[in-house]
Amino acid sequence: MSRISQCFEKLKADGQTALISYITAGDPEPWVTVPMLHALVDAGANILELGVPFSDPMSDGPVIQKACERALKNNVSIHNVLDMVRQFRERDTTTPIVLMGYTNPLEVMGYETFAQKAQEVGVDGVLTVDLPPEESEQFLPIMDKHKIDTIFLVAPTTTQERMAYIAEHAKGFIYYVSIKGVTGTAVLDVTEVENKTLQLKQITDLPIGVGFGIRNGQSAAAVSKIADAVVVGSTLVRCIEEHAENPEALPAAVAAILAEMRHAINASDMA
């Protein structure tokens, strides 16, 4: 069983909702990424999404676009990101890590080379936002061979028929994009999220994570009542932007935000 599946099983047994954090690797400076990841875990993150910076992040709003720009100014490549994972694993061998990003850096590295290296350093899953199952014919068996879970998105526009098609190809969990729009731009509609999550649950046994519109403890708590996992991204990245000139303060600053979310989710899990 993959580290991601184990993580969900354990949380389920404990009656807890998973909290997933997203930060962009190398933002604002490469050295602070690994300390931030540890701080996020200490503050209650169960799974870590680590963004692979890309020059043309078409599915992201201004907050994550700027994070990519900051990281790319530091020349952070997919190779550097994999090194960060290796470094993180020196201290933490249990928290699952998902690399999130766009197809091209993986395509240029070569799917096989990437997967081999990713498995070796301890990556557990990969979410390529512009690689739908339709285009994954070569990608899927290679990731499978190297025991990397392929996580796919489901959107408000996804039909029921298509949900089944996506679920067939997904591993680890399914990521429900809770808004029509790019990351960090709108606030989610809880009723709509509930409807879609229920639809998904009829189709698949995979855990459902919800993300894209979660800003604070309140929305995190609301979503935790419905989903198996809550994903927090732009809110953390906005905090990173605010502290870009003072990166020493960042591990504590992002941890504080995540701790508030954790607290709100725990309270809602107990209720």
């Binding site: 043309d56 078409m58 526009t157 709108a186």
Partner: protein, 409 residues
């Protein structure tokens, strides 16, 4: 006929939008239903006689088609080789080939019940052509344009505004066409229910490369008939400039099975390929995935897209339509580049010898003609796509000639 070419029209694209290993549908999940819906609508209407009739009527009465095929005798004589024929897309309403495509997509948008149109633009010609059809439909139109292009194509920005479009300058990345495309895609994700995205070239996810090509093949279909009628034979070579590749594929596609016809796509060579400051992914790039399809890209060794340079805003793009990637790999078309300076020289030459002021984009095709024509004989025919007129480039050319436009008043 070689086997690949014999089956070309049947095989490309396949039903997933692949041109060999290129093309496809590389977009975020939120847009998948939208591109399937578009594909379904397009496949339905392209064979619908009523749709075709409406389009033909618009192309004739509104755009002014067929565009003439002009024998540039002065210029042919001056270059001392092949007979040069110019396909006069510059005479279309709005001044370029772009309108052939926006007419078609606007008719689709109307039938699909969309109430809002968005577009990206580089030189502003596609933005103007989109704002034009939107004005006619009376629906909201938003055009994304790189902030740098807003500067260098100020006249077209004003034209779009006159036509009622909102022009949004894009400040991210290199502030040119690729960033405008990113921003238009972000808009589409956000407003997918009511919005139709009119892409201006043969790029983007399937079905755009196929659909835009089909709308633009009017260029090649007309040109083929016209040259057969006036010269009694097929041309020996075709030349067209390549930004995303829509005017080129529009000219080339109907000639692909005519294997005696050589094809040259001309990319923006900027300061020269060797300087790295250019916009020539087919000449100097490598395959990758961007803006919904797999194709040749200008990128670094880590798969990051790199900044392009061309004097011509319409060529300043790091990718290219996937069908050109295939035509390059199978060797059916040749891809070359000319520099900014060579294009400017051709701009002035055509203006003085034929009294036609070409767009800077089209001047790249003309510049390659000045190289190719002298290697050919006077009984041979070179057909060049004059994709647009140069009115929009007055400021740029004047500034490059050391003139301040404002001083001319």
């Amino acid at each position: 006929m070689s086997e690949k070419i014999a089956d070309y029209y049947d095989n490309y694209p396949d039903d997933k939008g692949h041109f060999g290993k290129y093309g496809g549908r590389f977009v975020g999940e939120t847009l998948m239903e939208a591109i399937y819906a578009l594909e379904e609508a397009y496949n339905h209407y392209k064979d619908d006689p009523e749709f075709q009739a409406e389009m033909d009527k618009d192309l004739a009465d509104y755009v002014g088609r067929p565009s003439p095929l002009y024998h540039a005798e002065n210029w042919s004589k001056k270059l001392g080789g092949a007979q040069i024929y110019l396909k006069r897309e510059d005479l279309n309403h709005t001044g370029a080939h772009k309108v052939n495509n926006t007419i078609g997509q606007a008719l689709l948008a109307k039938r699909m019940g969309k109430t809002r149109i968005i577009a990206e633009t580089g030189a502003g010609q596609h933005g103007v052509a989109t704002a034009t059809v939107a004005a006619r439909l009376g629906i909201e139109c938003v055009v994304y344009m790189g902030a740098e292009d807003v500067q260098r194509q100020a006249q077209n920005v004003y034209r779009m505004k006159l036509l009622g479009a909102e022009v949004i300058p894009v400040e991210s990345g290199s502030r040119t066409l690729k960033d405008a495309l990113n921003e238009a895609l972000r808009d589409w994700v956000t407003n997918v229910d009511n919005t139709f995205y009119i892409i201006g070239t043969v790029a983007g996810p399937h079905p755009y490369p196929e659909m835009v090509r089909d709308f633009q093949t009017i260029i090649g279909r007309e040109a083929r008939n016209q040259i057969l009628k006036s010269a009694g034979k097929l041309p020996d070579a075709l030349i067209a400039c390549i930004g995303g590749g829509s005017n080129a594929i529009g000219l080339f596609h109907p000639f692909i099975a005519d294997e005696s016809v050589a094809m040259y796509g001309v990319e923006g060579g900027g300061h020269g390929i060797e300087t790295g400051k250019h916009a020539a992914p087919l000449c100097a790039g490598s395959p990758g995935v961007l803006h919904g399809n797999r194709t040749y890209l200008m990128q670094d060794k880590n798969g990051q897209i790199i900044e392009t340079h061309s004097v011509s805003a319409g060529l300043d793009y790091p990718g290219v339509g996937p069908e050109h990637a295939l035509l390059k790999d199978i060797g059916r078309a040749n891809y070359v580049s000319v520099t900014d300076d060579e294009a400017l020289q051709a701009f002035h030459d055509l203006t003085r010898t034929e009294g036609i002021i070409p767009a800077l984009e089209s001047s790249h095709a003309l510049a390659y003609a000045t190289k190719l024509a002298p290697t050919m004989t006077p009984d041979q025919i070179l057909l060049v796509n004059l994709s647009g007129r140069g009115d929009k480039d007055m400021h740029t050319v004047a500034a490059l000639s050391g003139l301040n436009f404002e001083d001319q008043k």
